[in-house]
C-alpha cells in the first residue's frame, strides 16, 4: 500500500495555476487497427476547468481517441500533454495516477458487487477488505455530499437504476482523484430528468476545477452544456468551435460532411380505417413479473403511434407479442379485422400473413443473421414466398435480382447483395432490415429503436423511408427511447412505465418535460 494513494482523493480539488494553458493536449495522434485507421493525425486541446464536447458519427474515432487518452489503447504515434507537460499514458493504471477518470459508455461495474465494492476496486485502501471499507466509505460520504452524488453504498449494482449506476462510475473516478473526467455517451441510457441531474453534477464539477470531456452524438446536449466542441469525422478532428459561436446545423454538417436535414417533413395526416386494436393485453414474464398490465390502444392506416418510455418498461415485450415472437397470454389483438385471442395460434409466420412486419429493436440478434449474405438476410422470414423459390429449392437468381434492386432503392452501402451483413455498419444493417420489411408491403409496421447506433446520415434516410410508408397508408407503431425521435415522427404518443400506459397525447401538444415526467412514473395524465 503506497501512502500517497491513501491521501489522493481526500484533497479538495483546486484550480490550476493560471499560467497553465491547457489541461489536455493531444498532438498528432494516429492509431490503426490492422488496416483500419481509427485516428489519423488528431490534434485536440482542452482548457482547464471547462467542458469540452466531442461529436461525430459512429466510427468517427471518438471512443478510440478517448481510450488512448485513458491508456487502454497505445497510439501508433503522437504525443499527449497534461497541464502542458508531455506524459506517457501507457495503461489505465498510469492515467488514473495522472488524474484521468473515464465513465465508459458501457459501464465498467461488476453487476454482482455492491456500490462500495465497485468504487473500492483498484483502490481498496488496505490488503483486507474490512479496514479498507471503512476508509473508503468515509471518503465517499464526503465526495457524495460535495457533488450531490446521491447513492446507496450497500446496494447491489444490478438492482439499481442506470442513472444511479452512472453516478457510481463518476464517484469511482473521483475516488481515485480524477481531475480530468471523460464521459463517453453518458446520456444514452438516461431519462430526460436523469440527464438534467447529470448535467447539474457536471457543472458543479466544473466549478470545482474539474476538466470534462463529453462524447455524445446528441447535438442538443453539446449546445446546452459544453464550452467548446470538436467535431470528428473519419478518424480526424475536422473542426473546433466555441459552443456559443456554432449551431446544431453547422455541427451536423461537419459531422456528415454535407448538409443534413435535421427537421423532418411530415406528410399531412390522412387517417384510414382502424387496422390494429390492442385490448387489455397483459403479460407475465418467465420470472413471474407482470411486464405488461392491461394495455389497450389502437392504430389507424396512415398513422404513426409512438411509444415512449425508458428502456425496460414493457415496450420490448409489447413488440414481441404483436409480432408473434411471444405468445399472447391475456387480452386480445385485432389485426385487419381478424381477432386473435390467447387460445389461438399466434406466431411470427402468422403475423406476417396478417400483414404485420417487424423491424426488431436488436437488429443484430433478431433482425439479421450476421454471417449471412445480404441476399440471404433480405428474404429472411419471407423465404417461403413463391417468388424466391422454385418448389423445394431456393431460386438464387430471382433472389439476387430482387436484392440488387433492394440495396439500390434503399441505399444500403456497400451496394452489394453478396457481402455478409455483419460487415455493414449499424446504419446500413438497419436500412437492410427496414428495406426487407417495407418491401413486404405490410399493413402494419412495428419498428423498435429504428436509429439506435445509427449515423446521422442514415437516420435521415430511415426517417424519409418511414414517412414515405406512412403516406402510402401503412400504420406504423414506433417504439423508441429517443424522445426527440418519438416527438418528431409520431402523430400520437403513448407513454409506458412499468408495463402500463401512463399517458397519451397528440404529438403537437407534447413537450419533452411532460413526457419525461410521465416516463419516470412521476405523473399520470
Amino acid at each position: 500500500m503506497k501512502t500517497n494513494e491513501n491521501r489522493r482523493g481526500n484533497e479538495t480539488i483546486v484550480s490550476l495555476p493560471p499560467y497553465i494553458k491547457s489541461a489536455i493536449e493531444l498532438k498528432n495522434i494516429t492509431k490503426r487497427f490492422g488496416h483500419v485507421v481509427a485516428n489519423s493525425d488528431v490534434n485536440l486541446k482542452v482548457n482547464p476547468g471547462t467542458i469540452h464536447g466531442i461529436v461525430g458519427e459512429n466510427g468517427a474515432g471518438k471512443s478510440t481517441l478517448m481510450n488512448i487518452l485513458f491508456g487502454l489503447y497505445k497510439p501508433d504515434s503522437g504525443m499527449i500533454y497534461l497541464n502542458d507537460q508531455a506524459v506517457d499514458v501507457n495503461s489505465p493504471e498510469k492515467s488514473i495516477a495522472l488524474g484521468i477518470g473515464m465513465v465508459h459508455q458501457h459501464f465498467m461495474l461488476v453487476p454482482t458487487f455492491t456500490v462500495l465494492e465497485n468504487v473500492m476496486l483498484g483502490n481498496e485502501g488496505s490488503m483486507f477488505l474490512k479496514s479498507g471499507e471503512e476508509f473508503v466509505l468515509n471518503r465517499l460520504k464526503g465526495l457524495s455530499k460535495n457533488y450531490g452524488l446521491d447513492v446507496d453504498f450497500e446496494a447491489i449494482i444490478s438492482d439499481i437504476p442506470v442513472g444511479m449506476q452512472q453516478r457510481v462510475e463518476i464517484l469511482k473516478a473521483l475516488n481515485r482523484g480524477a481531475k480530468i473526467l471523460i464521459l463517453d455517451e453518458p446520456t444514452g441510457v438516461l431519462t430526460p430528468q436523469e440527464t438534467i441531474g447529470l448535467f447539474d453534477i457536471l457543472r458543479s464539477l466544473r466549478e470545482q476545477g474539474v476538466t470534462i470531456i463529453l462524447i455524445t452524438h446528441k447535438l442538443k446536449e453539446i449546445m446546452s452544456i459544453t464550452d467548446t466542441v470538436s467535431v470528428m469525422r473519419g478518424g480526424k478532428v475536422v473542426a473546433d468551435f466555441s459552443t456559443e459561436k456554432t449551431s446544431p446545423e453547422e455541427l451536423a454538417e461537419n459531422m456528415v460532411g454535407r448538409k443534413v436535414l435535421l427537421s423532418i417533413k411530415k406528410p399531412s395526416l390522412k387517417l384510414g380505417k382502424k387496422v390494429l386494436e390492442v385490448k387489455n393485453v397483459s403479460h407475465e414474464s418467465k420470472d413471474g413479473v407482470n411486464v405488461l398490465k392491461d394495455i389497450s390502444f389502437d392504430l389507424k392506416e396512415g398513422e404513426i403511434l409512438g411509444i415512449a418510455g425508458v428502456a425496460g418498461n414493457g415496450q420490448s415485450e409489447l413488440l414481441d407479442i404483436l409480432s408473434g415472437i411471444e405468445t399472447l397470454q391475456r387480452g386480445q389483438i385485432t389485426v385487419n379485422d381478424k381477432t386473435i385471442v390467447p387460445s389461438q395460434e399466434w406466431n411470427s409466420k402468422k403475423a406476417r400473413e396478417f400483414g404485420v412486419a417487424h423491424v426488431p429493436e436488436d437488429r443484430q440478434k433478431r433482425g439479421l443473421v450476421l454471417p449471412f449474405y445480404n441476399y440471404e438476410n433480405s428474404i429472411l422470414g419471407y423465404h417461403r414466398n413463391e417468388e424466391y423459390s422454385s418448389g423445394f429449392l431456393m431460386d438464387k437468381r430471382k433472389i439476387l435480382n430482387f436484392v440488387d434492386d433492394l440495396v439500390k432503392n434503399f441505399d444500403v452501402r456497400p451496394r452489394s447483395s453478396s457481402i455478409s451483413s455483419g460487415k455493414l455498419s449499424g446504419g446500413n444493417q438497419q436500412k437492410l432490415v427496414l428495406a426487407r420489411e417495407i418491401e413486404s408491403n405490410p399493413k402494419i409496421l412495428l419498428v423498435g429503436q429504428p436509429t439506435r447506433g445509427v449515423d446521422i446520415g442514415a437516420i435521415e434516410r430511415i426517417y424519409e423511408d418511414l414517412m414515405k410508408l406512412k403516406s402510402k397508408g401503412t400504420a406504423i407503431l414506433l417504439v423508441s427511447v429517443e424522445l426527440d425521435e418519438i416527438m418528431s415522427l409520431s402523430d400520437r404518443i403513448v407513454v409506458m412505465n412499468q408495463g402500463t400506459i401512463v399517458g397519451e397525447t397528440n404529438s403537437s401538444d407534447a413537450t419533452e418535460l411532460d413526457l419525461g415526467k410521465m416516463m419516470s412514473g412521476l405523473e399520470q395524465v
Binding site: 487497427f33 485513458f70 487502454l72 489503447y73 495503461s91 489505465p92 493504471e93 498510469k94 492515467s95 488514473i96 495516477a97 473515464m102 465508459h104 458501457h106 465498467m108 461495474l109 461488476v110 453487476p111 454482482t112 458487487f113 465494492e117 465497485n118 473500492m120 476496486l121 483498484g122 483502490n123 481498496e124 488496505s126 490488503m127 483486507f128 477488505l129 474490512k130 479498507g132 469511482k172 481515485r176
Partner: protein, 324 residues
C-alpha cells in the same frame, strides 16, 4: 445398535479419506473459475502431481520434497493452461482436456520408462509417506460414549494433508471474500473490463489465480500417492477431478457449501464401497457402477430442481481482450 454405530463411524472415516482430494481440487476449481478460467484440467493436474510426488519421494526418500515436486508439477500444468487460454486466448475447455490427456499419457509413459512396472511407481515405505497423526488423549476419549468414538475414529488418525484440506477451505473462503486480492479475483471473473479500467492487470490476476489452483491440485495429487496411497498407480485419479468440479458447481462456487458437497460425494462413494456385494432388502445387490454414477446424477438432479440456479461467474470461459 453398537454394530450400526460402528458402521456409521467407519463410513464417516472413509468419507473423510475419500473427500480430501475432492476438497483440494474443488477449492482449486473455485480459485480458477472465480477468476474466469474454466478448470476442467483439475483431473490431469492431480494425476500428474500424484505421479511426480511418488517418483520424487521414491528418488529422494523425503515426502516433503515429494510434495513440493508435486506442487511444482501441477503449477507447470497450470501455466501451460494459462499460456494457452490467458495469453493466447485459446478455448479453456479444450486446453483443460488437453492437460488431462497429456497427464494420462505422460504418467504412464514416464512410469514405464523409469520403473518398468507397468506404469506404477515402486511402493513407498511408511517413513516415506505422510502417516496418520494420532491426537493426544485418545485413551481417555475411548471411555466417552459415541463422541469418544467419533473423536478417535473420525477426527483423529488422519495424515497431515487431510487436516490441511480443511484449512484450505477456510483459507479459500477468507482470501476470496475478505481480502483485496479476493475482491479483484471475483471482479475479474465477473467483469474483467471493470478490473482493467480500474488499473489492475487482468492477465496477472488470472495467472495468480490459476497458480493457486495449481498448488491446491498438487496437494490433492500428493495425497493420493504419498499419503493415502503408497505409490502411484496408473489412472489413479479415476475421475475425482470431475467429481470435484461437480461439487464446486453444486456448492455454487462458494467454499463452505462446496466443502459439504465434497463430503456428500465422499460419503456416497464410501457407501458404495460398503454396499458392494451386499444384498439389500427389496432391492437386491446394487451394481457398483450405480453408486459410482450417483454423484453426477445427484448434481444434475439437484441443480435442475432443488437448490436453485447455480450462477457461474459472469465472464467465465471468455478470454479477455482489450481491442474488440
Amino acid at each position: 445398535m453398537l454394530e450400526s454405530l460402528q458402521l456409521i463411524i467407519s463410513l464417516l472415516d472413509s468419507t473423510i479419506r475419500i473427500a480430501t482430494p475432492l476438497i483440494f481440487c474443488a477449492m482449486a476449481g473455485i480459485f480458477s473459475e472465480r477468476s474466469g478460467i474454466i478448470d476442467i484440467g483439475l483431473e490431469g493436474k492431480m494425476l500428474l502431481s500424484a505421479f511426480v510426488a511418488a517418483t520424487a519421494t521414491f528418488l529422494t526418500g523425503s515426502p516433503i520434497l515429494g510434495l513440493f515436486a508435486a506442487i511444482l508439477a501441477s503449477c507447470s500444468a497450470s501455466l501451460i493452461h494459462g499460456f494457452a487460454c490467458i495469453t493466447n486466448k485459446g478455448d479453456q475447455v479444450i486446453s483443460g482436456l488437453a492437460i488431462n490427456i497429456l497427464a494420462s499419457g505422460l504418467t504412464i509413459t514416464l512410469g514405464i520408462a523409469l520403473f518398468s512396472r507397468g506404469g506404477q511407481t515402486p511402493p513407498l515405505a511408511s517413513e516415506q509417506r505422510f502417516m496418520p497423526i494420532e491426537f493426544p488423549f485418545l485413551d481417555q476419549m475411548n471411555y466417552v460414549p459415541v463422541l469418544g468414538d467419533l473423536f478417535v475414529e473420525v477426527i483423529s488418525g488422519h495424515n497431515i494433508l487431510v487436516y490441511l484440506s480443511v484449512l484450505a477451505v477456510f483459507f479459500t473462503y477468507y482470501v476470496i471474500f475478505k481480502t483485496r486480492f479476493g475482491l479483484r479475483l471475483r471482479a475479474v471473473g465477473e467483469k474483467p473490463e471493470a478490473v482493467d479500467t480500474a488499473g489492475i492487470s487482468v492477465i496477472r490476476m488470472r495467472y495468480q489465480s490459476i497458480l493457486i489452483a495449481g498448488m491446491l491440485c498438487g496437494l490433492a495429487g500428493a495425497y493420493l500417492s504419498i499419503a493415502h496411497g503408497a505409490g502411484f498407480g496408473r489412472e489413479m485419479s479415476a475421475g475425482k477431478g470431475y467429481i470435484a468440479l461437480a461439487a464446486m458447481i453444486f456448492g455454487k462456487w462458494n467454499p463452505i457449501p462446496t466443502l459439504f458437497a465434497c463430503l456428500l460425494f465422499g460419503f456416497l462413494e464410501a457407501l458404495g464401497v460398503r454396499l458392494e456385494g451386499v444384498e439389500l432388502l427389496w432391492i437386491g445387490e446394487v451394481p457398483v457402477q450405480v453408486m459410482q454414477a450417483l454423484p453426477y446424477v445427484l448434481t444434475v438432479v439437484l441443480l435442475a430442481g432443488f437448490i436453485g440456479k447455480a450462477r457461474a461467474p459472469g465472464a467465465i470461459g471468455v478470454p479477455y481482450s482489450k481491442e474488440g
